[in-house]
Symmetry: C3
Subunit: 241 residues, 3 copies
């Protein structure tokens, strides 16, 4: 039995991964769904990437976790890469689920299309507190394309404004992912168009892992809402030895 | 409940989409399967793209249809793009099913491999009435690769010679698809090799839509024959709000 | 009913394809699973590509086989291409299953990433008898990513050291695959990362076939171990007329 720590993406909290955690727990595993600094109620929306990474390092220490299968979704890929660089001794395997894979000195915005960078900046300027939100049409068509409208709307309503600084902070790594000796997996939802397929998650970003295990599954970027059971099965295939 | 208008591809008529329409109607929707000018019995094989587009504009007007989910298959993507440019007020959503997506001034032949352009020209020269047909080996291997031979043969037997002019006429658009404000979906059959995967439907052509909803489904270019029920489900996922 | 001859890949023997052959036989077909020269117990590990090709040509002659659906897996694609060039009159259809497709004068190593070429050379130098083996971590993560660890280990234990010369010998063909008139199919396992998806089997290598039938199926490079029944169904879809 394994210990899973699931790290959510931008605009989410750990709570949204509870329906994914349940079927994994039902197979006898331990599952943690912490919420990153910057996304917890009351967190300053000026939170940066280093603080987000630190919040997971602290979580592992406080809960005395080792031998962990550490999964990151989307922006969470930035975070787990940083965590693996700081406390490799606690990690059994890294699992990226349609997640960003940074090398030393890269930020999330370096890996997204220019129109997103521009949208995020314009939105943060308009909101004024350092945070960005996703316009509903982009969420509905490009992020959760596999759900019906009611599911898409309900999921949208629980999102929280996300600190833009975590997208623009460059990560500092001693070792790039391809050179990390920890085993790695990449879960690719085949209908994920949160990044356009002209500039895709896989193999564009996954190939930065060096040797890794590929798991593919039908679904959108937000399979945690549209089919959490199916996602849970993929996570267990990605996370096993 | 929605109003679907399904626009067939080259060599087809609306009748071949009736088995796709049936499961959509069974869910309570209204479904129309008009046949394009150029493909109706007795139509001149010198029919051009503008007349084909006009035949759908007229169909919508004659049947007083608005709030329409307008789907185009393959060559039908040329047609629905032209229709959306002329009567955007009648359309709720455009759905491209492995379909061509033209910008202003492009023709279908601009988006296919050079060997097809050459084949079409040679065939039209040989036939002499302005029409082209598909050689059976190309149909069987590249268009309907997911069916058994009997299904492939039976479907081939109902095809009609297609006016080449509709492939070479350049479309005239006031607004390119990416700038159209109507919502858009793209259905991609993942084994569709009617266009080779080195020059694919998705994301090469789908990305010309700007923001769009991707739906993928296993199947060939001719899923309407090999699994009409499965295609119907994908159409409803693509067509819903 | 058809006659199938299944040609295994590097490190394998025909015996590993018996669980794939069984469901095909259950449908009434005849299935042969010969082992290539170089992979039979006692074969010199200095065996070259020409001898491997010759061993299948001989097998067809000795068993008086014609009208054969000839399938090659991975390295087996080199072999069946050579066989089709020598005895086209015996073959009804070629089926490549995540297999190399060579043109005249190419060797297998011309189609793999440089890191594999280097790994193979270093390993052969170390082993000293002309053979190479796959390190278990590469096998487990990149070749059989869809199986559990026990299945991966059990399959690994039956592999045999493979003659490197078959990877570096350039094939000699009278006719390149695209110009061969025999019908051709390509089975692509969609999670096959034995070749990285930045340098993929399909469409990079499949497109060298000219007109071909694509069949795709979920699974890794070693679907023969992880789901032989599913692979058998795909083979029958690829092999039928």
């Amino acid at each position: 039995m394994s210990i899973y720590v699931l790290v959510h993406g931008a605009w989410h909290t750990g709570a949204e991964l509870e329906r994914v955690a349940a079927p994994i727990r039902a197979e006898g595993h331990q599952v943690h769904t912490p919420t990153l600094a910057g996304n917890r109620p009351g967190d300053a929306k000026t939170t940066g990437l280093k603080e987000a990474i630190r919040s997971i390092v602290d979580y592992l220490a406080e809960n005395n976790l080792s031998d962990v299968v550490l999964l990151g979704h989307s922006y969470g890929g930035m975070v787990i890469t940083g965590v693996a660089d700081l406390v490799p001794e606690r990690i059994r395997r890294l699992v990226y689920w349609n997640a960003f894979v940074p090398n030393d000195g890269e930020c999330l915005n370096d890996m997204v299309p220019p129109q997103y960078v521009g949208l995020f900046e314009a939105m943060a300027a308009e909101r004024g507190d350092g945070s960005v939100v996703l316009p509903f049409p982009i969420w509905r068509e490009a992020f959760i394309n596999d759900a019906d409208l009611a599911t898409a709307q309900k999921a949208y309503d629980v999102l929280n404004p996300h600190p833009l600084k975590t997208f623009t902070d460059k990560i500092s790594l001693k070792v790039n992912p391809a050179e990390m000796t920890v085993p790695k997996s990449y879960i690719n939802c085949t209908e994920d168009t949160a990044l356009p397929h002209t500039l895709p998650w896989h193999p564009r970003l996954s190939s930065k892992l060096g040797l890794f295990r590929l798991v593919q599954v039908p679904g959108s970027h937000e399979l945690c809402f549209s089919d959490p059971q199916r996602l849970a099965r993929s996570i267990m295939e990605a996370g096993r030895d």
